[in-house]
């Protein structure tokens, strides 16, 4: 790998702030810098308004914040972010580019990697630097049935981090850095034109933010039982999720899906009802603090990852569980 100028984080915005995943990527970058003495950490932020976010990123360790502001970037097309990222790479000439496997990152990072003549280390749960100063990327493969570590051997390494697998560091307002405004032709970069958007947001607490998540799977047998899960979620101040099997069956919308190709959740309490615990499902919830499983098959995989389990029929276990809960919670 060429001697490089450190690490560039491809940032994302959540409103006028850097997204939590971007703070995680900055924290990952800072920890890598310990093995790259004298090199620096930069970030690129593309948004409608980036001044405040740039300062937050600097407090989180970025020495240079490349920014690009445009009204169209309030909800950016991936190709526009790729164009901005390419310009930031040109200016920073990093040896390592870090981003996040978010809905936007999934589109931006592979494109960027191929344009830089390499490929993407996708969905990494840990990154490190080896003695040859190569990026080592560790990532689940085969839906989580195996874990691989690869060394990036191209001149520039590009990695996407799995959300919530690295702790975001604390901001330190004494850190200083420079802000560099980029000028990029965004309009000509965009060939996939957005024409419409249909939101399908569930009422109540967002699944991704919920302290308690109650998820149902194929074992529920239909859409009706999800109402019971809803009552339990209401009782505990949580949200309802689902396995892909339940979403594919049309029992709940696909926005409920937890897992490798669904949402990543890390609640205090995750209760899985009638879910077998396929590795692709667990990929979205295994970082929950406490997992509880109710499944009639005592040999179900979910019990390997659960802290507490009941091997029984949810139709009998769940109502009694809820009744007792109600009593305990007063």
């Amino acid at each position: 790998m060429a001697d490089g100028n450190g690490i560039l984080v491809i940032g994302e915005m959540a409103g006028n702030e850097p997204a939590s995943t971007t703070l995680e990527a900055l924290a990952a970058g800072l920890s890598l810098l310990a093995s790259l003495p004298g090199e620096k950490l930069s970030v690129v932020l593309a948004g409608a308004s980036t001044a405040a976010a740039a300062q937050v990123a600097i407090a989180h360790g970025a020495q240079t914040a490349y920014t690009i502001e445009d009204a169209s970037l309030a909800d950016p097309a991936p190709e526009a972010v790729v164009a901005a990222a390419q310009e930031a790479v040109r200016q920073a000439s990093p040896r390592i580019v870090l981003g996040s496997k978010t809905i936007l990152g999934r589109d931006v990072l592979p494109r960027l990697a191929f344009r830089l003549g390499t490929a993407l280390a996708q969905d990494c749960t840990a990154v490190a630097i080896d003695d040859a100063k190569r990026l080592l990327a560790t990532r689940p493969v085969y839906g989580g049935n195996a874990v691989a570590t690869v060394a990036c051997v191209s001149d520039i390494a590009v990695a996407a981090l799995r959300a919530k697998s690295i702790d975001a560091g604390e901001p330190d307002s004494s850190r200083t850095g420079e802000v560099v405004a980029l000028s990029v032709d965004l309009a000509s970069a965009v060939r996939v034109r957005p024409v419409d958007r249909v939101e399908q947001t569930a009422e109540g607490i967002r699944l991704e933010d919920a302290r308690v998540v109650i998820s149902g799977g194929r074992g529920l047998g239909g859409p009706e039982p999800f109402k019971e899960l809803g009552k339990l979620a209401a009782l505990l101040g949580g949200a309802v999720g689902a396995s892909r099997a339940a979403c594919d069956a049309g029992w709940v919308p696909s926005s409920y899906q937890v897992g490798l190709t669904g949402k990543t959740v890390t609640p205090e309490l995750y209760i899985a009802v009638g879910i077998s615990g396929a590795s692709q499902h667990m990929a979205g919830c295994s970082n929950s603090r406490t997992i509880v499983a109710i499944n009639k098959d005592a040999g179900a995989n979910i019990f390997k990852d659960a802290r507490f389990g009941v091997a029984g029929d949810w139709q009998k276990v769940l109502p009694a569980f809820m009744e007792q809960l109600q009593e305990l919670l007063g």
Binding site: R106, P110, R111, F114, G117, A119, Q122, D123, L136, P140, V141, Y142, G143, N145, A146, V147, A148, T149, V150, A151, C152, V153, S154, R191, V192, R193, P194, V195, D196, R197, V198, Q200, T201, A202, L236, S255, L269, Q280, T290, I291, V292, N301, F303, K304, D305, A306, R307, F308, G309, V310, G312, D313, K316, V317, P319, A320, F321, E323, L325, L328
Partner: protein
């Protein structure tokens, strides 16, 4: 004008294989030899999307392209049984690369150029081996085409592609000019089962086979992005406490009490 569709399809280990049956041998993931491979699930959805496009347009030709070596013919012919018109296997020991998309991307892009006049490439959103979700994007970049990812619906009107993309909370409609690449997700719906006539017809079709040389690909000149350092089985550090009772109801009540005692709720 015939709409020329290419679908990329990969032969993979069946992802429904029980976790306990997965093993690791000389830095490769293994399953027992009696476990038949499958076509990557999202690729079957891409084939379904292609068949729907063919039905809608009335005049379309579907070519399925797969890269690898050591294909299981009965498995990889399934798209033909579903209704695809042609199968091209990019079969070469040099294509047998599990960890790096570079070679696969180059082979697919070369094949699409060789087929010629392709209007749209449909791929799966990710392959259930390395869950990379990047080969189709690489192909689009190599060809200089736009790519719309994670589609639940694909329509073509003249030379305009219209795709409904799945978002975490809803969906987005995007348009692009053909030629273009689309990656398809499970929200498209269940792929059709091959019928008897399809299965019989597929039996008679011999796939076209192209090697790296047939594609004028100098594999040695492609620089890989990755080197595998290690492969292992994941560790689960959780100690599970099974809650039992006189019956299921009792176990449910005890579970609530236990969670309360632990101050989890």
């Amino acid at each position: 004008m015939t709409l020329k569709i290419v679908v990329t399809a990969k032969q993979v280990i069946d992802p429904e294989t029980p976790t306990s049956a997965f093993g690791i041998d000389s830095n490769a993931v293994t399953v027992p030899s009696n476990q038949s491979p499958v076509i990557n699930g999202f690729d079957e959805q891409a084939i379904e999307a292609a068949l729907r496009l063919k039905e809608a347009s009335g005049d379309a030709h579907i070519t399925v392209v797969s890269v690898g070596s050591g294909f299981a013919l009965d498995v990889i012919k399934k798209p033909l049984a579903m209704g695809a018109d042609e199968l091209i296997l990019l079969d070469d020991p040099a294509f047998d690369n599990a960890i790096d998309p570079t070679v696969t991307v180059a082979a697919l892009a070369a094949a699409i150029r060789k087929i010629g006049d392709v209007d749209v490439v449909l791929a799966g959103r990710q392959a259930s081996d390395w869950d990379n979700a990047q080969v189709p994007i690489g192909v689009a970049e190599a060809l200089g085409w736009p790519v719309a990812t994670v589609a639940k619906k694909v329509d073509i009107n003249g030379t305009t592609l219209r795709v409904e993309r799945v978002l975490p909370d809803g969906h987005e409609v995007v348009e692009a000019d053909l030629p273009a690449v689309v990656t398809v997700s499970n929200e498209l719906g269940t792929p059709r089962y091959p019928n008897m006539r399809g299965i019989m017809a597929a039996r008679r079709v011999q796939p076209t086979v192209w090697s790296a040389a047939d594609l004028d690909l100098a594999i040695g000149s492609l620089s890989p992005a990755f080197e595998l350092v290690s492969l292992s089985k994941p560790q689960s550090g959780v100690e599970t406490e099974m809650i039992t009772g006189d019956d299921d109801e009792d176990a449910g009540r005890k579970l609530a009490q236990r969670l309360r005692d632990e101050r989890i709720i």
